[in-house]
Subunit: 224 residues, 2 copies
């Protein structure tokens, strides 16, 4: 049985939320967002081992929250870096070469068991998996010189967990950082690997703006 | 005072919802989606005049629903066409040249008053308005030959109501249909007009998939 790891990345400072509390600590239905995220993986398979990447100066706050909320899912901590790339790299350093790793945004508490299953199955068969959903809105490109409609039919919104064989993704993260690395899949892709897309779930939103937190609260309260 | 019109487009057949009921008639918290959509505009300004574009063979069903649910917002009906372009054109034919028209998807019941205000203000000042939200996920382009990450920072998800001076948008819809017309703004843009983007609201989702209906139900129940 292949060992599974969830590398939960929570390096955000929360500036887009206009709040002083980093968004991963904001409360959803009374508890920090991050705890729901852990639980989504733990429900899927309780043998998954967790690494949580948090800014070093937030470790104490997180430990206090775990105590306060009786949060019992075992996990190791890694230090966040200045970039997401560095944060993921720090987390990967704690993993063995054998295994499968789900690299997941701490602020996506609503990932479904089906999405996790899709990621796992395709990683076992093909080596990696990237959960996506179709763009259901019209899409527009706007910059200083262009402002034009884009045909959405070939575009997909990329979610997490982006899922890999640990050995391959660790090797990919040995590359020098490039601005082309917009997510974990793009880091592996830069080595020439093919990325395999699978169906994500539309509720698996990334909590980025205050409205997202409101939406996620409602979803959590109605589901759990 | 400029006259305002809401042209509600509900031509969809609901195939992506895997149901035989067209999605605009599906029930949200006990009432058809379309009724909530009307009410969002009516709450914003009760002087708005409504045109509803529905497939001709659905007019009777809609009238029965209005009777059943005591739906009292006055509106005129226009016939849906084979394409969305044709549907909008049929609706525009009922409008005078003077005025402002909000062209809105029938299956977006969660448009906010703030979004409507943004659209109205910018149309008064600049002639048109397109509500958008930033893409908060990574974006990927996938077709038969390419599968690659895309920098999302210049991409926006386009919502409705796309808002125009009636005279200008009617003139634009006199063009021959082109596959480049992905939405109403792109029809006007094809004449060389500049499109003005404004902030939409993230909850203003288009009900396209069964999960969207579930999400919208929850949002409606928690708001209204």
């Amino acid at each position: 049985m292949t060992k599974m790891f969830a590398l939960i990345v929570a390096g955000g400072s929360g500036t887009r939320m206009n709040r002083s509390t980093p968004k991963q600590f904001l409360e959803l239905a009374g508890r920090p967002v991050l705890m729901y995220t852990f639980e989504a993986f733990h429900r899927f398979d309780s043998s998954i081992e967790f690494i949580l990447v948090l800014p070093a100066d937030e470790h104490e706050r997180w430990k206090d929250l775990c105590a306060k909320f009786d949060f019992l899912i075992t996990h190791r901590l890694a230090n966040g870096g200045i970039t997401r790339f560095e944060s993921v790299k720090n987390g990967l350093a704690l993993l063995p070469d054998e295994g499968i790793v789900f690299i997941h945004d701490g602020v996506r508490p609503l990932v479904s068991g089906q999405t996790l299953q899709n990621c796992l199955d395709t990683t076992i068969r093909k080596g990696n998996a990237l959960p996506v959903v179709p763009v259901s809105e019209s899409l527009r490109f706007v910059d200083e010189t262009r402002n034009q409609a884009v045909d959405r039919s070939n575009y997909y919104l990329v979610q997490t967990p982006q899922t890999f064989n640990t050995k391959e993704i660790k090797a990919a993260y040995r590359q020098t950082y490039s601005q082309l690395f917009t997510d974990d899949a793009s880091v592996l892709e830069n080595l020439g690997n093919t990325i395999h897309i699978v169906a994500g779930n539309r509720e698996n939103i990334k909590i980025t703006y205050p409205e997202d937190l409101h939406l996620a609260s409602i979803l959590i309260e109605n589901k759990l």
